[in-house]
């Protein structure tokens, strides 16, 4: 789960990191009220993606009316596929300098990496590409976190030696997001040093590991419903499916992530455009197939569905029966091609044919068939 800025800041604040005064506003009136309390503010779109500034999602307000207008413009805006649900009105800081500090998972090292750079406020990936020497790195021991002397070295490496004490304090607090919240990314960019010498989080990014959601039900309850994602993904999550929305018209179901991704590739290669990724896992039980089909059929863009199932331990005839039942229960009218292989594949294909479902011999043939049928449907 990627937290919104104000949510991430609330978490950082609970860890003892200073944040600017701010208020959440769901309506233009609330933004005007925030101005009355805080004075001049930045009105910031709350979306779980970067680049909101460039998209017009951050506006400065010097009067209550400006705050109201800014909120009116920003709330409901679409930023990279996310509808802005609310804005965060925050007091502007008296900035002396901006620093980057963040933890993230370094896959190649199978470890967390702490990055520190004097070039704050910029996209860190861009800094990494253009001037990698400007970023100091540390892989802290995952059992005890970063030690003082390691942070001293890091601060001097980043040419921020004069700030070693306040930086070490902030970094140690930020590190708590990893053991306490299963953070995969915990980033402050910029970490602002004000003209009066205070060190304050100007922005915050926090991504919590979905695999650890069971440990952080409180966060999900408090924040989970605020993030308005894609409606099909929301519904799929409710039904316990692994589902990702894409923008094409061929619905795709596969068992296993790799097989499902492979099916996406084949549909695209056959000239179609996948509407989604949906992995129903091993087994391919009738109930799960039905849930997956139900979510895919909610999308009016979908012109056809291809199911690619490999039956390993599950028998193909059982999978076929399940698919037929799911289709019938949902009164599905759109073209459906099923590619079934593995154990008892012949019996499975016979059952499909008997019930008017096109069985694909291999995945490539199935992909071509669904693209052809969906195309015909689109023309009709």
């Amino acid at each position: 789960m990627k937290l919104l800025e104000y949510q991430a800041k609330e978490v950082l604040s609970s860890l003892g990191i200073a944040i600017p005064p701010g208020m959440v506003a769901h309506t233009p009136d609330e933004a005007a009220a925030a101005f009355a309390r805080l004075g001049p503010v930045a009105v910031k779109a709350q979306v779980p993606v970067g680049g909101r500034g460039k998209a017009g999602g951050i506006k400065l307000a010097r009067t209550a009316e400006e705050a109201r207008t800014a909120a009116q413009q920003i709330i409901g805006m679409d930023i990279k596929g996310f509808k802005v649900p609310l804005v965060y009105c925050e007091t502007a800081l008296d900035i002396a300098r901006e620093i980057y500090v963040g933890f993230t998972v370094d896959r190649d090292a199978r470890a967390n990496v702490l990055l520190l750079s004097a070039k704050g406020g910029m996209d860190i990936e861009q800094v990494a590409e253009e001037s990698p020497e400007a970023i100091a790195r540390l892989h802290p021991n995952p059992w005890r976190g970063p030690l003082d002397f390691e942070l001293t070295q890091l601060a001097f490496d980043a040419e921020l030696g004069e700030l070693v004490r306040p930086l070490s304090a902030v970094i140690k607090k930020l590190y708590r997001a990893i053991p306490d919240y299963d953070a995969l990314t915990a980033e402050i960019n910029p970490l602002v040093v004000t003209k009066s010498g205070d060190v304050i989080a100007g922005d915050a990014k926090l991504e919590i590991d979905d695999n650890a959601a069971w440990r952080h039900r409180d966060l999900e309850q408090k924040y989970g419903s605020v993030i308005e994602g894609d409606p099909y993904e929301v519904e799929a999550k409710r039904r316990g499916l692994t589902y990702v929305s894409l923008d094409g018209e061929i619905g795709i179901i596969g068992n296993g992530a790799g097989l499902c991704m492979g099916t996406l590739d084949l549909v695209q290669r056959a000239g179609g455009r996948p509407a989604n990724f949906c992995d129903i896992g091993g087994g391919a039980k009738a109930e799960v197939v039905e849930n997956a089909l139900a979510v895919i059929l909610m999308n009016p863009r979908v012109k056809g569905v291809v199911i690619n199932v490999f039956g390993g331990i599950t028998r193909g005839d059982e999978v076929a029966k399940g698919i037929v039942t799911a289709r019938d229960n949902l009164h599905m009218k759109l073209p459906l091609v099923v590619r079934l292989s593995g154990t008892n594949e012949e019996e499975g294909r016979a059952i499909l044919k008997q019930h008017g479902i096109e069985p694909g011999v291999n995945a490539w043939a199935a992909a071509q068939k669904i693209v052809e049928l969906a195309g015909a449907g689109a023309r009709a």
């Binding site: 896959r107 967390n112 953070a183 695999n211 692994t242 296993g256 492979g262 292989s341």
Partner: protein, 286 residues
């Protein structure tokens, strides 16, 4: 011959009395795997599926001399189970469990540095299988046949699909290894490729990768330095968009890293044939 496992390897199952553990232990026994026991805290002293159950891995290893373990315990307990296996003296740890928090796996990886003799496969993987001999994990045996092709993959069902196609064409396998789809895992493509290089029975290699990370690129670099194996690679997810997690926690493209294109190009540079679809793999091996 095979890599990592054969019919004589003494195997225990952690979580042997659970539903998944029981079902797959029976499947493992059916193939001929030398399952010598299992663990389930509190059930030590009992017998399950014809083998003794122990409270802990240390007890099981002491009594049976087991060197390998398959882990089928639920995600909240799996990281501890891996560390218990390593500390108990197990040298091949196969963790099937899906959904272990990444921070726990990072701590596990650090812990395992203290046990250099312990190899971890997974987590979130289908395990490994030596056709006609033994398996640890959930790969269905009936789609496999003994032979000389080494198969290593990040994905479960895609592995089954390719193994099945190979067997149907009369191309048997020496060992099938599923390394798993998590971003922080045990054995990598590179590790497994090196093991296959040293196995005289393996003449060909099929490598099935997917988007995300750079393990495929590292394996390609290893192969480029010299390989005796005729290798075919396939990468799934070439049309996946950036920033969308495709089922496996590890299958995500960020920036220009981890794309199918960079992986395919790395293999081509190493002189490895790259299959456009899984159906092309059999033809490219001939």
């Amino acid at each position: 011959m095979s890599i990592l496992l054969d019919a004589s390897t003494k195997v225990i199952v952690q979580g042997i009395t659970g539903r998944e553990g029981s079902f797959h232990t029976e499947q493992m026994q059916e193939l001929g795997t030398n399952v010598v026991g299992g663990t389930s805290p509190g059930k030590g002293g009992t017998t399950h599926l014809g083998v003794p159950v122990f409270n802990t891995v240390a007890d099981a290893v002491k009594a049976t001399g087991a060197t390998a373990s398959g882990i089928f315990v639920p995600a909240p307990f799996a990281a501890d189970a891996i560390m218990e296996a390593a500390a108990g003296g197990i040298t091949l740890i196969v963790c099937i469990t899906e959904g272990i928090p990444i921070q726990e796996m990072i701590r596990v990886k650090d812990f395992l540095r203290g046990y250099p003799q312990a190899r971890l496969l997974g987590a979130n993987c289908p395990g490994l299988l030596v056709p006609g001999q033994a398996k640890i994990g959930i790969i269905p045996q009936r789609i496999t046949m003994p032979g000389h092709i080494g198969l290593v993959s990040r994905s479960g069902t895609l592995t089954y699909e390719v193994a099945s196609a190979l067997s149907a064409s009369g191309m048997g396998q020496s060992t099938i290894v599923g390394i798993g789809g998590d971003p922080v895992l045990g054995l990598t493509f590179g590790d497994v490729v090196q093991l296959f290089e040293k196995d005289p029975e393996t003449t060909h290699l099929v490598l099935i990768g997917e988007i995300g990370g750079s393990d495929e690129e590292h394996a390609a670099e290893l192969i480029a330095r010299g390989s005796r194996l005729k290798t075919v690679a396939f990468i799934s997810g070439r049309t996946a968009p950036e920033g969308k997690r495709m089922g496996h926690a590890g299958a995500i493209i960020s920036g220009n890293r981890g794309t199918a294109k960079s992986k395919e190009e790395a293999f081509k540079r190493a002189g490895v044939a790259v299959a456009e679809t899984t159906d092309d793999i059999v033809g490219l091996l001939q």
